[in-house]
Symmetry: C5
Subunit: 366 residues, 5 copies
Amino acid sequence: MANKHRHKPRPLFAEIRKRAKKAGQMPGTPTYTGDKSTTLPTITVLNYNVDHCELKKGHQLDEVLDTTLVNGITWVNLDGLSDTALVSNLAKRFHLHPLTVEDILNVDQRPKVEEFEGYVFITLKILMAEDNLTPASTKQLSLILGKDFVISFQETNSTIFDAFLSRIQVDPNQRVRQQGSDYLAYRLIDIVVDQYFVVLETLGDQIEILEQRIITNATPKNARTIYRVKQDLLVLRKAIWPMREALGHLMHGEDNLITKFTRVYLRDVYDHTLQAIDALETFRDMLASMLDMYLSSLTNRMNEIMKTLTIITTIFIPITSIASIYGMNFANMPGLQWRYGFTGVMIVMVLIAILMMIYFRKMKWV
Amino acid sequence: MANKHRHKPRPLFAEIRKRAKKAGQMPGTPTYTGDKSTTLPTITVLNYNVDHCELKKGHQLDEVLDTTLVNGITWVNLDGLSDTALVSNLAKRFHLHPLTVEDILNVDQRPKVEEFEGYVFITLKILMAEDNLTPASTKQLSLILGKDFVISFQETNSTIFDAFLSRIQVDPNQRVRQQGSDYLAYRLIDIVVDQYFVVLETLGDQIEILEQRIITNATPKNARTIYRVKQDLLVLRKAIWPMREALGHLMHGEDNLITKFTRVYLRDVYDHTLQAIDALETFRDMLASMLDMYLSSLTNRMNEIMKTLTIITTIFIPITSIASIYGMNFANMPGLQWRYGFTGVMIVMVLIAILMMIYFRKMKWV
Amino acid sequence: MANKHRHKPRPLFAEIRKRAKKAGQMPGTPTYTGDKSTTLPTITVLNYNVDHCELKKGHQLDEVLDTTLVNGITWVNLDGLSDTALVSNLAKRFHLHPLTVEDILNVDQRPKVEEFEGYVFITLKILMAEDNLTPASTKQLSLILGKDFVISFQETNSTIFDAFLSRIQVDPNQRVRQQGSDYLAYRLIDIVVDQYFVVLETLGDQIEILEQRIITNATPKNARTIYRVKQDLLVLRKAIWPMREALGHLMHGEDNLITKFTRVYLRDVYDHTLQAIDALETFRDMLASMLDMYLSSLTNRMNEIMKTLTIITTIFIPITSIASIYGMNFANMPGLQWRYGFTGVMIVMVLIAILMMIYFRKMKWV
Amino acid sequence: MANKHRHKPRPLFAEIRKRAKKAGQMPGTPTYTGDKSTTLPTITVLNYNVDHCELKKGHQLDEVLDTTLVNGITWVNLDGLSDTALVSNLAKRFHLHPLTVEDILNVDQRPKVEEFEGYVFITLKILMAEDNLTPASTKQLSLILGKDFVISFQETNSTIFDAFLSRIQVDPNQRVRQQGSDYLAYRLIDIVVDQYFVVLETLGDQIEILEQRIITNATPKNARTIYRVKQDLLVLRKAIWPMREALGHLMHGEDNLITKFTRVYLRDVYDHTLQAIDALETFRDMLASMLDMYLSSLTNRMNEIMKTLTIITTIFIPITSIASIYGMNFANMPGLQWRYGFTGVMIVMVLIAILMMIYFRKMKWV
Amino acid sequence: MANKHRHKPRPLFAEIRKRAKKAGQMPGTPTYTGDKSTTLPTITVLNYNVDHCELKKGHQLDEVLDTTLVNGITWVNLDGLSDTALVSNLAKRFHLHPLTVEDILNVDQRPKVEEFEGYVFITLKILMAEDNLTPASTKQLSLILGKDFVISFQETNSTIFDAFLSRIQVDPNQRVRQQGSDYLAYRLIDIVVDQYFVVLETLGDQIEILEQRIITNATPKNARTIYRVKQDLLVLRKAIWPMREALGHLMHGEDNLITKFTRVYLRDVYDHTLQAIDALETFRDMLASMLDMYLSSLTNRMNEIMKTLTIITTIFIPITSIASIYGMNFANMPGLQWRYGFTGVMIVMVLIAILMMIYFRKMKWV
């Protein structure tokens, strides 16, 4: 089971490998570094204000974006980045910097917030929590926050924003309908960060089970599981730690795109990130303690084994020795013919055993 | 005993689990994440100034708050947060931000201080020290510090402020009666931080006993106790460490709610927090040293066991060998018929034993 | 001896225990948390300027302070804090803040420097170096630095300032006679910090002896000593580390009490504190290295023991086996009647032993 | 194979050794500290603007530089530094500071960015990834960024910039043709940093293989490989870590040489450096975990061995003892003549074996 | 050899001991804390400008300093500090602060830079690299940088500046002849820092040899060498680390004594210090890795030993057991008289041995 997990491409190295492939290219070259998917990328355009809300879905940019937009907020969401041309066109329409396009397509970014002329570029990691074996898989989400638009580029077709999307459409009283694009961007970040806790929960459960097992009966399999969970923590750390700085930058940034109203909410999601980091650090400390305990239980077991061996050996070896002596074939051995010879030797043997037992008890081995 | 402790819901993971359940909700949604208690939340309203002091208790907001308040400080205390509507109403009456309400009800906050329009929001952890087995349980306290009011939201019905409450009522010369709401908030924080030392004392006692045991006789049970206390320290760290930053923020904050007079006192409680953090770090270092010592004593014991085994074995195995040789049934064995054969062999055996003992003494094993 | 040390109240925990007892009290309540001593506290008042110097000693405040003071510097020193009323009266006369009084009496403060209206409050730890077993005992010294006075509150009756006191009286050319109260305060701090090096020397000696022992012959007692010295280091760290920040604050503080002249001297004592901290860190690193070395020597010794056991066993066990085979009582055993049977078997046995020895030599065990 | 690696000059120490040789020289003395190569250093001069591009190659300065330069950017690249005079002449022509010349020739610099009168001096490390055994070899690259020129000094003749060079020549629409010297310098840095990921990939592959081996079957060779990779990481850390500060300095520097346009690109390469550092730290954590796992697997194996020994020994030693007893030659031994004597003893022996097995099963050893 | 090293006074503790002796003295008391040497301190005065250069040597201050100085830079160098009066007189003539004199004589300073009225005081450590056994010995150098003079106080008579001194005299074109006193001071610091790399080289060589030994054959002596080199590193760290801060302070200081010209050179020596610190940290990491490897090789060897023991024991013990059984003297033992009894038993024994070998091979022990 643990081995099966190993056969999957390891996210840590996949990232470096992809970057290595980019070496030598010109900066700003739009190259998609993620997995090629067979499904067509889907574009979703939501155009809304307090009174009005309209949703369009499609695979072509012209299909969904070439409409008269109401005076309000436009949210463009792209699921899947394999169609590089599509991303480039979308970027061109919103006047994005070539480096932004490159970063969107290079799905191995460190989470960060960068200000460009006319927009803020935000890169996050969506944590996937599909099954128990591999909680540590991440997908990239890039957000473009402009004056009256937000564009979200998702590495894969995820359902993370679906519930939020329908809520906006259905309910005009939603706060997001009354606020600007900055609040929309905040909401998307918030949903991503909330998801972290789901993954952390899965991991926490695994750690708890592992803890129980190590306390009751430590096996080499536990060591491997500790090792695996540690590697998973590394992946999560890489996704969550840089968020702290990025969100702090967003919160305290001086650009006019983010209102004072939204900043209060950003502080909230920043707090959640700190909480997630706290949890990660706690997990790490716990795993370190568990490893200590596992190792000490190994040594303990060794002691138990050695004690048993020593007790048995030190009782029976002297007895065997004495018996061997009286088993020699010398013609002239005293005591062999004596009537109580055998009884005497037997008593000596029992005495030796008793003395040994007393010694072991004194040493607290028994 | 240690196992019994494990069956309780672990605070570390409970927290993440609760946050995970919130994932997908709208920000500002008031959702209580604590344990549902069966008892009704109690509201206590204390309205006082230098001359006057009036206390009201009840389960309904209108019962206790719909009275003419004297020109002075109002302290509203809520014990228990399970009635979400009650909290929302109270918040509405004091114009609290939706995020504040969410944070009050989400009892898994990191200790923090946040400034909002018209009030300061403070979140702390009350450490519970009920019994020796589980010192590491925390309950949340949220404080709202306004111009002439303080609202305290307690996760559970605790008696931590009872003595203080009666003292205010009884004695008009109490400094708190003469000062503003900021001094009242300071006093509440001070009481909470003082409580930390009670819990740290309990933990310190456990560590001291553990130390004695490890020095005199290290057992695997000690390792488990070290592990458990370490986990408890993690809980305390999560409660106390962020206090440092939060109180520093409160102390140096630029809002007008806190007078210069009170800032001196806040510096004092800040110092106490540093002292508590010092104690935690000391505990951690001690536990690490204890684990080192436990492990070294394990190896020592192994050495002791191995020495015994080796001494006994290396003395008796050669003797047995020689005896076996003379126990062979060869027709033609020299010495068997010799008169001093047996005596000679016995002397050789004793010599071997003596030489071995000399060697062991030289190696400082005996 | 090590055990005897354990029976003394451990400073680390004593501190927390005392603070725990204070929980629930009003801030600014003057409560003495130190050991109750039976001797009366002594007040020493030294009033001096360049021309004049007068010393008064007594147990009552009125005795010693109700005199016409010359126009100069007044140094009030209190040995012993068990008389809470006396401290309060003294504080009242110099208009000290209630929190200052509380901090003076609570002898478990973290070293710190705090500015109050009209004076600076300084808390330090005096390290006691009475005997070799317990170098890590600290006593609190609180200093009040006012415009023309310095008050020093000592937890116990120590002789640390005696030599300095007589030097001031005797020699009018002493720099302290020509400078203000800030220089006097500096001198007191300087004497305390100089004392640290005496204690560090004692500790350094212990570590050096310990090092020699571990290099020549590691015993479990060494591990316990390492553990004990580590605990002592924790106490020293708690006393010395915060001094860095406190003195830095004093040195760079903006209050007018400290002249540019004295700041140069404060920089000097600050440097000494850094030196003491360096020494502590070096000690800590050395102890960590020693523990590593102790553990590796344990494993080494285990290897030695195992080697001996293995060599003896693997040489004699095959021999015994062969001998046992020829000791069987089968009627029909080949070779028993053969003339060179015994000699042949003996040669085989010797060959086995030689082969084994060659193998051991190849493995570098012998 | 691992040993072969050891025979190469170790970059870590080579560096110090070279610096040691410089001790006592005057500052600014141009001394080349790299390996002497037999090939002649090559100078490449590229002079270009949007319309025009001219390349000259040669071994003499006058050959390649004494031409009329078009009004544009000049990039002078020097492959190989063994000709000290050549470097000095080149430096003189561009008015470089003597310390700059010294730093260029001393190929053991820490990566850094320094501002001088009229130019910025940048030192980087090019990581070489030629073969699998020694990924951790670095070569120095020094860049001089002037108003309309960039000079690049390479320690050895590398092909790292070749592709870039031809692209500039071929394609006038390349952004670099339209931008200033700062953009050219950025591009060179970018190419160097991109190369890091190729080396990190090689290292990542090695770590992944190592991981597989340790999980399936830990051998002492693994420990040596962990050790070797750790040493390699140290080399990479020394090359990459200081880049962070250097690039940050370049990015936020106040000199006019770097345009706002290029700063956006510098931020991008800065991000890549952070990513490389992240990867290094991840590798380090992984190696630490692997070592833990390796050690725990050693102890595990020891336990396995000891269990086998103990089981066999404790079953057969008592049996041998009993057999020896009945092999004694006493004339008067009870039971020897008894009809079921042998059968009885055999039953006792089997019972002992069964009891032992039950005990082992209870202890979970079998 | 390692033991011999131990008998030398250990620099780490010597320092504290000396400081401890100073406890209780007045600040500014000139007390020499170094080793008393028998040779007379030598004063060297070099007075130079671009045109002129004059050198005087002597043991009396008046001999060498009471001459008409040309309008230029004066460098006063004092070799040996045992003549306290001489130092005091020299200090008086240049109006040095009493604390400066104290710091010059107290040769256990932390490297630092302090600004005084009219001069800058710089304290450094000269590392001595005389022999291989004790690379970690440091001597103090104090520099006074005034407007037109530099005074250097050396703890002992070292030859470190000799080459530089003659170069100044001989060559009027030396840059130092054309620059101010700040450049002279820089040169002295530069020479000291260059010397560090010589010592680091010695240490690096030792570490490299140690590494080879641990990889090929780990012995307890290696552990002791690791321990000793670690202690040496501690000494170097104490000498070099504070240099970083001190030089940074000197470089960025606001006093007018240091020209912009010289600051560029100070940045260079600052860089060298960073490089030395990098090397120290690398050494430390390498030693930590070596210790890990040493410990793992110990455990490995233990495994090897245990395997041998287990294989031999588990093969021969059952054989001995069976042989003993057939060696019993029961009258009624089946098979003894059987013709193929002996052969059958022998076959059983060989089968047991073969089965055991198969088991061991399966467990990968053989």
